[in-house]
């Protein structure tokens, strides 16, 4: 799985290009063998069919774990900031904190992968709901049971996507707090008051801890829809 919390950077080099070329060539070369092997592995994974709903559930579970991990790292960062005494170190810590929150916000942003999967899954659940309403194949009691399950599913999907939107809003507020305090600290530094700058950044640690506590409670409430 991709590490979504590695700092984003431009990584482009001749070595990378050559490495990519070799990898792609190798993949192309082994693909027939891989295809032959996948015939057996596909049959073992048939137990959990890939549907938009299953994909979303699994991704949302991963996102929740990642959010818990990143929240712990935000708290660590707040601790580090409290022990600062030099303006340069303070500036660097604020920038690192911004990068950390940005990576997390990228996960839950409205054009992020999880939001897109959520929209797909909700669309799928709604189409199944509609299909069951118009069904003529099953008996009335079977149709009613399926309708009830899909109604419940759609309601849970709507709740989950609303929670994601709330997470996006919470992390946006946190990033805005950090960037505004960072900007203020930079202004203070510009008027050459290093002690005051360090004090401003240390106070930021308190804000971040408060937000982190709120986020922890929120993350616990972030629940993937049931199967």
């Amino acid at each position: 799985m991709t590490d979504l919390f590695t700092p984003r950077r431009r990584t482009l080099s001749l070595g990378g290009a050559i490495c990519g070329a070799f990898l792609c060539t190798a993949m192309a070369a082994i693909s027939p063998a891989h295809a032959a092997e996948s015939g057996t592995s596909a049959s073992t994974s048939e137990a959990a069919p890939s549907t938009p709903l299953n994909d979303f559930r699994s991704q949302l579970g991963d996102v929740r774990k990642n959010l818990e991990g990143v929240n712990a790292r935000i708290e660590e960062k707040a601790k580090t900031i409290e022990s600062l005494s030099k303006p340069d170190a303070a500036k660097q810590q604020v920038e690192e904190l911004q990068a950390l929150i940005s990576q997390t916000l990228g996960l839950v942003a409205d054009n992020g992968q999880i939001a897109r999967l959520g929209a797909l899954a909700l669309g799928y659940a709604r189409s199944k709901q509609e299909q069951m309403r118009n069904d003529t194949k099953f008996t009335p009691s079977e149709r009613q049971a399926l309708q009830k399950r899909w109604d419940q599913n759609v309601a849970e999907m709507v709740k989950a996507t609303d929670e994601l939107a709330k997470a996006s809003s919470e992390f946006t507020q946190l990033l805005k707090t950090v960037q505004t305090r960072g900007d203020y600290a930079a202004e203070v530094l510009e008027v050459e008051n290093a002690d005051e700058m360090v004090r401003v950044v240390r106070n930021l640690a308190g804000d971040v801890r408060g937000a982190s506590e709120g986020l922890r409670l929120f993350i616990r409430s972030l629940t993937p829809p049931e199967s």
Partner: protein, 109 residues
Amino acid sequence: MRLRLTQAVLLVVGVGLTGCDWHEETGFVEVKKSFATLATGDILILNSTTLDLGARSSLVVRQPTGTASIQIKHGETSRKLCEFAVRKNRVVTVSLAAANGSLRCSVQS
């Protein structure tokens, strides 16, 4: 011969680039609206992304760093509402409000 060699090099580099772990620098645009609904047929666009606010009052979109703009499109015609800078790991808030029958845009970064 030289042409073939150049083509081969370009092919290797091209394939290599697609295999690279390419990350571009990004920031975020928070779009807030304080109006009920858009006029019929109007669409809000951020750079090339269509913004579907629906019933929500705000949304957050990841964007590459650089200059971004919000436009309102109606059929074939479009009008730029505002232009702003998206900076690395930062949020820029764009508030949209209705004023005198049209939309106004204010930016806070």
